[in-house]
Symmetry: D2
Subunit: 345 residues, 4 copies
């Protein structure tokens, strides 16, 4: 039996590179040789084994990592749409295929949704297996590094696609990877003015390079006043909330114009307190929660934009490391120094 | 100068019928002889002069009432679209005509919105004046009593129009007039299953007559369990929230299926506490605040449905009284005995 | 090998009941025992072997019929979502699962679309096989007769779902089965006024029973004048074109109001000649071609409406016959006497 | 009475600069001092007095020209939203304000629509009058030359806004000013691949500079084959038809993928012959006629995009001339040498 290196969370207080068997693809799965895998906030939660991770139903040991790009090296017997040699990016939402949502074109929010690397082993490894439906073939023009971040990019792009940003003023709250990808997507899709807020100066600097016209540090100025001043007192047409901060979300609604649109992507760790009348009803705010990419309309548009060069996400990838230096990558991300960290196994 | 009877809020603790001058229409206004006027929850707030009323910027004395139907008896010099004798219902949102929202087809949420009877004198009187743009001509087939409730009916109808209810399961939380109108509208627009919740048995009984297939008293059964049981565990496709109750809103999100739609119409008196992740993001809930009727697409569809007889709202009008018996109407409404009370001057 | 009776088109000038082997389901197929099957215009084309049929790539002999309801009696080895005993209706669009359209939620217009009974054997037989994805499980409350017409009903319902009919005036041109189903669907979904046109008095009579407020025989009155008179000179908000008649389509555009919506469902046998400026551009007409049901949002809403009793389609089923009397059914349909004919094997 | 120079069509075979009185604004109008005015195909029709012009109900003599930018120099007594000194671009659709369309937010396709310079005197003059509602205040950052072409630019932008071009392949047929503006708009709004066709090499060259990735001369290659080859055999996601050529429109439908969207902007001089089944129904094509800009959502987005610099339309303005050299400008446009010609009075 062939073996491979894999970063496993082995116990609440430990994660390490181990030698494990290369998995075999089930009938409806493909085996991927991982060419690049990106670090996500979720991985940090699991690494630290915080409250969320403890409650997520993760069975240890578990191979970490879910954002990845790889090459198909073996296929299950019922796989007909992919072949050995195909380059793929991984869709991390594993749908059941049978529920109401799966049947009406909403399989990305399957009622029995499983998540890659939470309910299955992940991709911080030399090889990984995914169901055929979650292995998105991508063209060779897309580099492995970019392929590895298509999953979070797709989430950000979708939040923008749902928000009618053409010729509109867009506020992006939170400039982690998702927020930065939202800035880039809004710029590509014709937002006329993009405001980006974060408490980290380096992230704001990257936001400026990715298309933000105005950066806002809520630690240095009042973001509500700033947005109102920038919009003639009306407020932003669109808010993409990618911070998960309760304060930022509350402020975001105050920054929104009457009739504006809000995409909620960030995940707060506490309940939000909101005055529904002022924040939503009188404004007739339109709010949408975004948990993933449509399968696969979002992917198709994303791929087209990447291939055509209209969407450039490289500034957000601040570090590329061999998987053996995973500890360094995790530390960079936890300290807030890094934005997107990509591992190459 | 001609005089008329009018119900005026004269001081924080007093409201009474007084003789006042019949108002003169300004250049862009029409003078209406009121044929019917309906009592709204807002009138009760003003009557009781509660915290909301005290903060709403109402200058006393003020003629109360904003939902009404009447006949044009005089027109200002710049009025070209209405003539003496026209039957009209009143749109209570008075737009400025100059702001961003007014210019992009969202004048019902004008950035400088004035409200009839809050910022101007209202319609619990023999005569009232409104800007031409807020005097919606209606056909004679629509009775004055129905004309008087088109404003709240339009709010309810719009919440349904925005929610794609055709062939869907709709939960209406709160069976006051707006909730009941939402039940009727959802039934007319093809909701396949309508669940209605309220703590008042008489209101639930009316909901059943207006199209609800299943009524729910949260005081007698757990509404979340009931809705999940009725929907095979998925939750409702659509929630129309018309109660303004914090508990009801929190439960509403738990009653919603993944991918479901929520229209927030009710106005809570306290902040809402909500777990955004579970309630909105993972579900990809689509939420819209509804503060009024589009001017005048909603009105046009509503009028067509009323004239054709496809929308029947009479069961919600539980009391019709002469204006002189206003105190009785207010008491009925405050006690929860009445649903919609209509006054005829 | 078990044998069954099946109506086969055996040569250009012949169709007959024959004894043939009961088919075996492939790995991804189910075997259905047909409980009811409905006659469609397409079957008449194949029966008469007209120009369309000759060019459709049909290999003879071929078991005819595509609209059906049945019970699962065997499943292929890769079928996981259906079980023996399930009641199903058949979706007749067989998608490839691999093309662009299949991947972005438009598999009903698959780029490599195969059609049940055109590219495969059909359902005018005791048994038939269909891919699992095309076997839609339906509840027992839906009768087999209604299950057999869900395919054309879904096409009609979708044309209405795409046309925003709530509170609108809808003109349905052509009162064959699809047109009648569109009348019923428009009525259920809240059209405030439905006008239906056809040259057949019996079909118009059924249209009246299914919800049309005004019926129009273009042989007896000018339909354009009539529609304009009924709509205050504006024209209809929506046209559902189900006749396939060139003249009717040309008139339909003249009957449409500025800003109106047109669903084109009927299939003309000749090219349409249209003045694009007047008919489309100046009116800003919104036109959509409808070739099928979304898989499976349309089906889900349809099923809900049928189960709840809000959508009644029985008046359109004018004849139910045993399959052995197929010739009688075909003759009734060809003569225009029948509307929908259902066979029970 | 003050006099001004104006280019008037005085008889079927004559147009000339004449001295005429400066018009006085009516109560709801403003008087503009014209700073720039652009030449449109419609002006050429009127100049040549072709069949369309003869049938358009134009009363001679008539001051020509409708696309313009100017400064408010006087206001009527009922004008409240504009002041002397304001810079404005002219919306050329003059709505009645009273019809169904005007009341439901579709005043740009008013049922009683009047057109500036067809039903009123136009703007190839030193001064012109327009209703306040058609005088769109624009910021000083937008140059007069660009202000003068905002009307056709808005038509092009709207055709793109209605077509969901983000990450899509867009074919623009016809590279006159509207087509070129559509190319630029599609590029700004995130089309991933833009194909542009025309028979004029200079226009194609400009299309390339404005964002087209692939230019097509139907005189040199088969456009259907070329588009299919560029799209892997699927066809384009979107077609913006701006040529008005019957052949181009027929080809456009063959270039469209199943499920694609078509915006029809060009106005053919003859009826179109189309096989509805193949071109529309089987493809489920979504078609929209575009006759103007929404008032004023399109204008607002356009203004934002121009001010932010995200939309650059200057390459399409090939000539700027003093009004006295109007003959030269008309000749350049008629010969196909010029693209957009702007006059400065």
């Amino acid at each position: 039996m062939q073996r491979m290196r894999a970063l496993r969370k082995t116990s609440p207080d430990k994660a390490e590179i181990q030698q494990v068997p290369v998995p075999e693809p089930a009938a409806d799965q493909v085996l991927l040789q991982v060419s690049a895998a990106a670090l996500c906030g979720t991985d940090l939660h699991i690494y630290r084994w915080n409250a969320w991770a403890r409650g997520a139903g993760i069975q240890l040991p578990r191979i970490m990592g879910h954002e990845c790009c790889g090459e198909v090296v073996a296929v299950g017997e019922n796989v007909f749409g992919l072949a050995i040699g195909d380059k793929v990016a991984v869709e991390t939402h594993l749908p059941c295929g049978q529920c109401l949502q799966c049947r009406i074109g909403e399989q990305h929010i399957c009622n029995n949704l499983k998540l890659f690397s939470i309910h299955t082993d992940g991709c911080f490894a030399e090889y990984t297996t995914v169901p055929e439906i979650c292995a998105r073939k991508i063209p060779q023009e897309i580099s492995s590094r970019v392929g590895a971040i298509m999953e979070p990019l797709g989430t950000a792009l979708r939040s923008v696609l749902e928000s009618k940003v053409a010729g509109a003023t867009v506020l992006v709250t939170g400039c982690g990877p998702i927020g930065l990808f939202a800035v880039a997507s809004a710029s590509t899709l014709g937002a006329s003015r993009i405001l980006a807020s974060d408490v980290s100066a380096p992230r704001l600097e990257i936001a400026g390079r990715m298309g933000a016209h105005r950066i806002l540090d809520p630690g240095r100025e009042d973001p509500v006043e700033a947005v109102l001043a920038e919009t003639g007192g009306y407020g932003a047409d669109v808010v993409i909330e990618a911070s998960g901060s309760i304060t930022a979300i509350q402020q975001a609604f105050r920054c929104l114009r009457k009739g504006g649109r809000v995409a909620l992507v960030g995940l707060p760790s506490m309940p939000l307190e909101l005055e529904i009348g002022k924040a939503v009803v009188f404004k007739e705010a339109k709010i949408i929660g975004i948990h993933g990419r449509t399968m696969f309309d979002t992917w198709t548009r994303m791929e087209n934009l990447l291939v055509s060069g209209k969407l450039d996400v490289l500034p957000a990838i601040t570090h590329v490391l061999p998987l053996d230096r995973w500890q360094e990558g995790f530390d960079l991300a936890l300290s807030g120094t890094a934005c997107k960290v990509v591992f190459e196994p």
